[in-house]
Amino acid sequence: MTALRALMRKELASLFGAPTAYLALSMVALVTALIFFDHLRLYNQILFVYASATMGGFASDSVPDYVNLWDSVFFPVMETLGLTLIGTVPLITMGVFAEERARGTDELLLTTRLTPWQVVLAKFAVAYLFITLMMAVSFLYPATAIEQGGLGLEHLSAVFLGLTLHGAGLASIGLACSAFTSSQLVAAVSAWAVAFLFWDLTWASSFVGERIAGLLDALSMQPRYSSFAGGVVSLANVVYFAGIALVSLAAARFSFDLRRVSG
């Protein structure tokens, strides 16, 4: 347990001891804030055009249903934030194992009393903690603004849960990709490709039958994440993201065996 704590402390120190972590946190929060503000401004403009005196005012039916705070502002921003995560998380996880491999310190890790599973879980926990922090600082502004619109804290908590679960899935994919290579570039690119692939598999529906298309739909992250963004928390969706983490971490664990065999 002491070794595990020491490893986590070391990972946290190396993460927050470098300016890149702060840069990533700041950039994601800034980009989200700018996108959100832009959507909000556009929404206000559209709403005022529809509700102008010539169109009958706010009380009239002239404003289409889809011009509302949720559909026009918050939901698209959360969708963008989900995609931003795909772009950012591999950059955070790319060095977790790959850097150790490149430096040769991964073998040192295995000489401690830690099992490969403990090493994987410790690194995942630290990466996940960082991603949750990143989501929290990015979520703060849209959530504060939307809460002023009276849309309810429960819904916002559902969205945040979806974000953190999505982050957990992506962190584990990034970790698995980092575990199979000593190149951080390869780790990042492969994590992007896998995450992009699983984000939305509906593109493949054109090539397959309805049944397989349904299966591919069930494998996609985007509809699951959208469900949280829509305010619906389903146990199946929670388990789906936990399942991605489980399989990815098992693959990362497998990389230790592969390394012992292939040298």
Binding site: A33, F75, V232
Partner: protein, 504 residues
């Protein structure tokens, strides 16, 4: 091998990126996907060939154990996900609980004679489709609905067949019958389900000729909404002109009197009484300040409707008139007609006259159903109905739970007569029918009167999305105070860390 894998991943990434951006499989996307898949396959083959040299039995055992671990994790994840999906556990955390199906919708689904197919027709970038998908997912969880999605651009024949006017339209199909729902909300889907069920609940005769409410008028104080709701729930509406009414037709299941402004002719009242004696059913919506001519009849049947207006200070300035003149009722007596209504499910009345039930016959049963608050009182001054906003003086009028609606059952030789009286007719007008739980009270009153108690339910509400602007000043304050300040502080922290590292 690594080069091939890298090329494959980059090509795959660009292929998918192109698809996500345009939502179309262009030649660029297909080419990238094909190249990516091919390169990755070759990289995997090369990797496997490399592993062949790890030929020792110990190595093979190690690899096999690792692979089994991954396969086991995958199997466990799939099994758990399937079990979770089977359990159907989900929570609707939206502000208005938009995806929790009302009991009425679940009941309507349960009573369908076969499996229903719900198809969403949408355009690629229609934002409304997201909400509709979640709603259809809720329907699918009932187990009796198969949900499909079709892009409008690939379904021109279906557009013609189902009369689809635009994106975000749901078509409900039951065997060879279908209903097209252009504004898919739970309330509209519920109504379509009811129409698909096509059960006939009876014929309602609506009296006309003495200034009663007009069921064909779509004006604010018209009753076309009520007529539409009656048709949706399986009732045929037939007009009865009182001037030529010698006898109420025997094939009617109930007679509806919608707030007459003038007294009914004595012959019409007599015909109504004969109809009731034969075991007929009457729904009378009376207006304060207007003599309907049936007050004496109602008194004989145990419901006194005195002149006067209920003033309920607990309702505040709910309407446009004087304080308390438009009662919001939240007290209901236990009665089949008010099933499901409780203090959280209120009904609104735009001016109401009091009702005093009393038993007329030994076997008759007359009950109060909807009550104003215990702070309510009755004024005989009918001019309060036209007074502008402002408080009314109670004087010495006693405060009590004054009945706004009452219902009676009367066993007679020809069958059981039923009467429902409501001291306001405007509550069922187009303006107020869908306010609070007015529609439920009105339709449940009809169902109870015609002895279709199994149809009594609470219907899903028509909810409109929040469409108000966020004031730009407060938006700007939040943008500066949170949106920009937080990233700035983080960047400052990063800069300090970087400087310290350089100094070290």
């Amino acid at each position: 091998m690594r080069e091939l894998a890298l090329v494959g991943l980059i090509a795959l990434g660009f292929g998918l990126g192109s698809y996500y951006a345009t939502r179309e499989l262009t030649a660029f996307a297909v080419l990238n996907l094909a190249v990516g898949a091919l390169a990755l396959a070759m990289a995997v083959v090369l990797a496997l060939r490399r592993l062949r040299f790890a030929a020792g039995s110990h190595s093979r055992r190690l690899l096999l154990r690792g692979l089994l671990g991954v396969a086991g994790a995958l199997a466990l994840a799939v099994a758990l996900e399937r079990a979770a999906a089977w359990s159907g556990l989900r929570g609707d955390l939206t502000f208005e609980r938009s995806f929790e199906l009302a009991p009425a919708t679940l009941k309507a689904l349960g009573e369908l004679p076969g499996e229903l197919t719900a198809t969403l027709y949408y355009d690629r970038f229609d934002p409304r489709a997201r909400h509709t998908r979640l709603l259809l997912a809720s329907l699918a969880e009932s187990g009796r609905v198969q949900v499909r999605e079709r892009l409008l651009e690939v379904a021109p024949e279906e557009q013609d067949r189902f009369g689809i006017a635009g994106s975000n339209t749901v078509v409900l199909e039951l065997g060879s019958r279908f209903e097209t729902v252009e504004r898919p909300l739970e309330a509209t889907i519920y109504e379509a389900l009811y129409r698909l069920r096509s059960r006939s609940n009876g014929v309602i005769g609506v009296l006309r000729g003495e200034g009663e409410g007009d069921v064909s008028s779509d004006a604010e104080l018209g009753f076309s909404g009520l007529a539409s709701a009656l048709a949706t729930e399986g009732y045929q509406v037939r007009s009865l002109v009182t001037a030529s009414l010698a006898e109420i037709p025997a094939d009617l299941d109930a007679v509806l009197l919608l707030g007459p402004r003038r007294a009914l002719l004595p012959e019409s009242v007599a015909a109504l009484e004969r109809y009731l004696e034969r075991g007929g059913r009457l729904l009378a919506l009376l207006e304060p300040g207007a003599q309907s001519g049936i007050e004496a009849l109602l008194d004989r049947w145990g419901i006194l409707a005195p002149e006067g207006v209920i003033v309920d200070p607990a309702s505040g300035a709910a309407g446009d008139g004087a304080l308390g003149i438009d009662p919001i009722a939240y007290n209901y007596e236990s009665h089949p007609l008010s099933r499901g209504l409780n203090p959280d499910r209120m009904t609104f009345f735009a001016g109401a006259r009091p009702l005093l039930p009393h038993n007329a016959g030994p076997e008759d049963s007359v009950r109060r159903v909807v009550l104003a608050s215990p702070r309510s009182w009755v004024t005989q001054d009918l001019s309060v109905l036209s007074k502008p906003r402002g408080a009314l003086l109670r004087g010495g009028a006693p405060q009590d739970y004054h009945a706004i609606a009452a219902a009676g059952r009367y066993p007679r030789a020809g069958g059981e007569a039923r009467i429902v009286v409501i001291g306001d007719s405007d509550f069922a007008s187009n303006r107020y029918l869908r306010a609070l739980y007015n529609l439920d009270l009105m339709m449940n009153a009809v169902h109870w009167a015609v002895e279709r108690e199994s149809e009594i339910t609470l219907r899903p509400k028509l909810r409109t999305p929040k469409q108000f602007p966020l004031p730009i000043q407060s938006t700007l304050r939040t943008f500066h105070g949170v949106g920009l300040l937080v990233p700035e502080l983080l960047l400052l922290g990063g800069a300090l860390v970087w400087l310290r590292r350089r100094q070290a």
